[in-house]
Symmetry: C2
């Protein structure tokens, strides 16, 4: 008799963003004339830059010509893109990586969701709270957690609260953990980690034979030159850290799908007989067995992001989004909200009005001022009483949204 | 201490196609002047058709314009594509499906590899032998099998041999099985299943509360009008079958990445308490949590395959490949090889020369006549002594390869 994966039955409610989408659709259906401003899901609003568009047209023509058609590519990505990544994202910051440590994929959601597969089910995972729900849910599905507790957390996961009272810097877990998810610049709080803070995490992982899963999807939004863009800027990190990057937020690829993971050959995990097993070939095996490479057109587009034109054009868009973030910060501070993030990250993390519940405030914002924000509680227990506002929007819409906030 | 997923350590050698690629690269490196003809990996050689190229250029332009930019799409795929799939692939053959039973993805390798996740680890899987390696390897990785036996098979999997002696029609397993992988038209043997044969599988699954995973990636190559293209043409299949389709072989999308899975709402799996749980919402949850939709450009391209021009143009290419298959069949039959498949499938399955081992014959073909074929043994024990030849090639290359065969 066919058995279900019982772990799926532990999952609570819907995944956060579909749930938001459901509520917004329902409201829009009942109020077809409402001019809704979406600051919820972190989706880009600016079109792909000309350098990328041009590269894609060229790639499309190549696919229409027998002489230049690209069929199955290397599962790990084309070397032209992997080399551009190495040179531009790493060598330029003093980080040496090899080509076969880069795995191009169709998204960081997929990579951060799938990476846990190569590790045993008996590992204890640690996540910050609030946290990007994918890290938690994929471990629930795999069976690495217990059942949900009454507070919404899962048994067996170590949660590390990040709140204003600790300046969003999590404490090291008091119990041993094996797999640590870190995201800097942080989604959802917009906090960043200094080199010293990351160094301490690397030391912790080395001492405890743990592995750090470092999600750097928002590194391009860092404005402070002292903040590291990659965990590999910290000595020793290539023994214990796997890094995730994406073109989604860097270059507006949310609809195109291209990202990559860095799995250094020095990262190991241990077998029951105590033998150290390199993770890089395991991930390579997974990648080749369950994935067939990112679209050639998306990879050609990604490579164009690294051209001189691509860089200049992309930077202009990042600057626009960060101007939005500054507007949100200023406006909401003035209105009396506590405001965090939005300086080195495209997310602003605010307290709710009168400290009401996050979903209650979500509904209030939607119904009263027709603004969609993401409930902090959707990211975890410590997110209750907060909202995430995304800077991905048109400046005029952001200004309009801020005016509407002033009427609340 | 971070623990490895020990199941990965059970995996044998490399995944088949990277291993072939490794051997071919090594040979090409040593023999840079060898004019190698690749009939191994099933990759297309004909460019994308004009209707698809045109749709992609349009989609690229949309992505470069703020008014028409597509960011994150629905994880399950755009309705314009799902509707085209429903109408053209199913309604046209008398099969009624709902839009939310279609899940667009970036490839059937991913779908057939990932689907096992929603089922418990205590299920027994059954596969034909020979078989597409992804079905087996992904279950090994998940921990649904034992260690490899000396014959290369894995403990805990039920293998159903398909050989000339049973006309490639597998017998029903004598022991109970829960998850049955079927692929028709078959990769690698090129065999097809009649409606009556599929009916018997559906009856078997219903009687045994099993689920059939039906890989129909090659359905477009069916020339015999009596052969079903979808398992849902069999009454009762929507209670027990999940179907996989791809644009890779239908329309040359191997480098573009677009496919879909059909998960009817009637398919259930059982929880330990005996409760029947619908699989559709579980797969939806997995899809939304670990995947962010296929590239908009690939989806726009896929929709163009269903236009009148797209259909005519694609059919011409299918016909070209099937002419190749006929040439292979005729030539090798004349040379004394036993020849199977290649009539309703783009693969021809032949015996090796003098019944030598598959990998031995692989090396002989590569070194002596510079032709790459896929060793049958790479698909399983019952594939030993066979080779798979792919019809995806230029006709002149196929003819040249056949001439070279005659010199062996």
């Amino acid at each position: 008799m066919i058995r279900v994966n019982e772990n799926y039955l532990k999952l609570q409610a819907g995944y956060l963003f579909p749930e938001i989408s459901r509520r917004v659709s329902a409201f829009a259906g009942e109020n077809p004339k409402a001019n809704i401003i979406r600051m919820g899901i972190g989706d880009v609003t600016e079109p792909l830059v000309p350098a990328v568009v041009e590269a894609m047209h060229k790639a499309v023509d190549e696919m229409g010509d027998r002489a230049t058609l690209k069929g199955y590519g290397p599962e790990q990505g084309y070397d032209f893109l992997r080399q551009a990544i190495l040179d531009n994202d790493y060598k330029s910051r003093g980080v040496d990586l090899a080509l076969d440590e880069i795995f191009v994929s169709d998204g960081s959601k997929c990579d951060t969701g799938n990476i846990q597969e190569v590790f045993g089910l008996d590992n204890t995972i640690a996540v910050t709270d609030p946290v990007y729900p994918v890290y938690v849910d994929t471990n629930v599905m795999a069976g690495r957690t217990g059942t949900p507790l009454t507070n919404g957390q899962y048994g067996g996961i170590v949660y590390m609260p990040c709140t204003p009272s600790n300046q969003f810097v999590p404490q090291f877990p008091s119990e041993p953990v094996d797999l640590i998810y870190l995201c800097y610049p942080n989604n959802p709080t917009g906090a960043v980690a200094t080199k010293e803070q990351l160094s301490r995490w690397v030391d912790y992982a080395r001492k405890n034979q743990a592995v750090i899963l470092f999600d750097a999807a928002y590194e391009t939004y860092i404005s402070d030159p002292s903040i590291p863009h990659s965990i590999y800027e910290v000595p020793g990190a290539r023994q214990v850290a796997i890094e995730f990057r994406s073109f989604s937020k860097t270059a507006g690829f949310t609809g195109l799908r291209c990202a990559f993971a860095v799995v250094p050959k020095d990262v190991v995990a241990y077998a029951k007989d105590g033998k150290a097993v390199r993770v890089n070939p395991l991930w390579n095996r997974r990648h080749c067995t369950k994935f067939n490479g990112a679209s050639y057109i998306s990879q050609a587009a990604a490579a164009a992001v690294y051209t001189a034109d691509g860089k200049t054009q992309s930077r202009r868009i990042i600057d626009l989004y960060m101007t939005n973030a500054a507007i949100i910060r200023q406006s909401l501070s003035k209105l009396g909200y506590e405001v965090y993030g939005g300086i080195n990250a495209p997310y602003v993390w605010i307290t709710t009005k009168n400290r009401m519940g996050s979903w209650e405030f979500f509904d209030l914002l939607l119904r009263k001022i027709h603004v969609v924000a993401t409930p902090g509680a959707g990211f975890g227990l410590a997110g209750e009483g907060f909202m995430r506002l995304s800077a991905f929007n048109r400046p005029e819409k952001v200004k309009e949204a801020m005016e509407r906030f002033s009427t609340l």
